[in-house]
């Protein structure tokens, strides 16, 4: 899944596009207008057709399926809003959202602070920083399945390297992914490790756009390193921070691969997240209708959270 959709800075531009308005084209000949329309279509259809057929269409279809009982084998039967009712009555629905939020709450601060630290350090005249950047970026390009496998292996409760090392220091390591209380922290740890390089790249790009004169001015005013970080760097980095937060939230609500490969949602459902639940409902329990209802619930939550953030961004995001 592509992980850096850059929705939000663009939202403002949708409202105030910088391109000339279509009215500017009035007065052309009819033939020229037809040619122009055909040109627009030629450029827009290659993307519009797949998006309509494989994203928007299925989205609408999911709403339709969510009103039916369907095990994917027999024909569907209309049940109205029953799927939504049973979802709301099922304690697991609340659990999977809670687990997902737990994941985000653990993952986001970790990956942001880690990524920021790396970006600040690698934005200096460090020797060999291309290589360092490469190493920190390596987990980003690695498949989640591989990362999950390796981390399961590192965090193996009985003979994994992490617990072996802890034992050498006289610490009894936890059961990690085999323990209901530690399953989600294990997933968070692996996720932060994987994504830290990505956050680093976004923040590096942001850091390099900051005008150096501001630092010089701050220094003339006698501001120390910390002061400059807090009053110059962080405010000017806020658009990048905003982007990281929004994308992490959108992706966080969709967390699946690592859960599937590390714990399968276990033990005893302790790390079951929303998307895994959608998958299980569909292909394990044969409840495609209920799965579609949950899909819509998830979509509504993501939309809500994203809109709240766009609204709230004015308070702290500085587009300079």
């Amino acid at each position: 899944m592509t992980t850096i959709p850059a929705v939000l800075p663009a939202v403002d531009e949708v409202v105030q596009p910088n391109a000339p308005r279509p009215s500017a084209r009035r007065g052309r000949s009819r033939r020229a207008r037809v040619t122009y329309a055909l040109t627009v279509l030629a450029f827009i259809l290659p993307s519009a057709i797949p998006l309509a057929m494989f994203t928007l269409g299925p989205m609408v279809a999911a709403a339709w399926v969510s009103l039916h009982e369907w095990n994917l084998l027999a024909p569907m039967t209309w049940v109205g809003l029953d799927n939504y009712r049973s979802l709301l009555a099922d304690p697991r629905t609340g659990d999977v959202f809670l687990h997902t939020i737990y994941y985000i709450a653990g993952y986001l601060p970790l990956v942001y602070i880690g990524g920021l630290t790396l970006a600040l350090a690698l934005n200096t005249a460090l020797k060999g920083r291309s290589l360092l950047r490469g190493v920190y970026f390596l987990p980003v390009i690695t498949s989640w399945i591989v990362v999950a496998l390796v981390w399961r292996w590192l965090l193996n409760p009985s003979n994994g390297i992490v617990n072996t090392v802890l034992e050498a220091f006289g610490i009894a390591g936890p059961g990690w992914w085999s323990d209901p209380a530690w399953a989600m922290p294990s997933i968070i740890l692996a996720s932060a490790w994987k994504d830290i390089g990505f956050v680093m790249v976004i923040l590096l790009a942001g850091l390099q756009a900051i005008n150096q004169d501001l630092y010089d001015a701050a220094k003339v005013d006698g501001a120390g390193w910390w002061r400059r970080l807090v009053s110059v760097t962080l405010p000017l980095l806020s658009p990048s921070t905003f982007f990281v937060v929004v994308i992490s939230l959108i992706n966080g609500f969709q967390v699946f691969d690592q859960v599937y490969a590390m714990t399968g949602g276990g033990p005893g459902g302790a790390s079951q997240v929303v998307v895994q639940q959608i998958y299980d409902l569909t292909f394990r329990y044969g409840k495609a209708g209920e799965a579609s209802a949950l899909s819509w619930l998830l979509f509504a939550v993501v939309l809500f959270v994203t809109v709240i953030q766009i609204r709230g961004q004015k308070r702290w995001v500085n587009y300079g």
Partner: protein, 308 residues
């Protein structure tokens, strides 16, 4: 929008290393502030040490993967030694002889290459349309495009599954490919890049009698190479590493892709970690090669998208 200095700073690390970026964490250039030079140098060395230790920690899981993959019988009882007694490539051999990993890699490569090429095409054309071809309702259409970013494929799994079943495309490469052909991310990235190509270039070409297709091909595309390279990396990566959709849609073992085959290895070889880790190493290599090739463009590409 991204300014040129930012892009320059990334692409020409060596030459600008002690110029602009240095001061952003507060290390003053030595010329101006010699008093604290010694303290700064100590701090600077310390920074190197910390970053290198961090990088080693970061890299450790990969190192461990490689070591495990060449330790025969790894995981049967205890974790393998840091320096295996009798390193062997048997696990790799097993992957390609006993398991269809050759076929699996070809499958993944085929899907990733097609996805990347098609995404470059759909993203560049759409990016051009949104940047250079104003039309009525453009803002609304663009907003709808962007909104699709919030709809993850996972959420659409049921309807997509039945849609492709209706087309008879389940268990085919085409079925695995179609939903990946256009992504809002790619379109957005290239639109932002095209926005930064000076319009004077188009106008000059128009005067020379060039139409939109020629401008697109001869002016725009050559001028957005960093963004194209970034898209290549992310599109290829997205396909190469994607799991859920290939898992669901490609049912026959001979059509399987790498992540799905790897996940399958775990269930079947619960104790043969050397084989599992060999598969992991093999799956990372092509991505690594691509990254090294496109590395210098990535930060620049991200920067030019206006995410800053």
């Amino acid at each position: 929008m991204a300014d040129a200095t930012m892009a320059d700073a990334t692409t020409t690390d060596a030459t600008t290393a002690d110029a602009t970026p240095v001061r952003s964490v507060g290390r003053p250039s030595l010329k101006r502030d010699t008093r604290s030079g010694t303290r700064r140098t100590v701090g600077f060395v310390l920074l190197h040490v910390v970053m290198i230790i961090g990088a080693l920690l970061m890299f450790f899981p990969f190192l461990w993967t490689i070591i495990t993959s060449i330790s025969p019988g790894a995981g049967l009882t205890l974790a393998p030694a840091l320096f295996p007694d009798n390193p062997s490539l048997a696990a790799y051999l097993q992957l390609f002889t006993e398991r269809p990993f050759g076929q699996v890699m070809v499958n993944s490569l085929l899907l990733a290459v097609i996805t990347t090429v098609v995404q470059l095409f759909t993203s560049a054309t759409a990016g051009y349309a949104f940047s250079r071809l104003p039309f009525r309702g453009q803002g609304v259409v663009f907003a709808i495009y962007l909104a699709t970013m919030m709809i993850p494929l996972q959420v659409l799994i049921v309807p997509l599954f039945s849609e492709l079943k209706a087309f008879g495309l389940l268990n085919t490469y085409l079925g695995a490919l179609l939903p990946t052909f256009a992504t809002a991310f790619g379109i957005f990235l290239l639109r932002q890049a095209i926005n930064q190509v000076p319009r004077e270039l188009d106008e000059a070409a128009t005067i020379d009698g060039a139409g939109h297709f020629r401008i697109f091909w001869t002016i725009i595309l050559p001028n957005i190479r960093p963004a194209l390279a970034t898209l290549v990396v992310f599109a290829f990566m997205g396909s190469w590493n994607s799991f859920l959709w290939p898992l669901v849609v490609l049912r026959s073992p001979e059509l399987q892709t790498l992540p799905v085959a790897l996940a399958g290895l775990v269930g079947q070889y619960t104790t043969q970690w050397d084989v599992v880790m060999a598969g992991s190493v093999v799956s990372v290599l092509p991505m690594l090669a691509l990254y090294i090739f496109a590395q210098k463009y990535i930060i620049q590409g991200v920067a030019s998208s206006g995410i800053k």
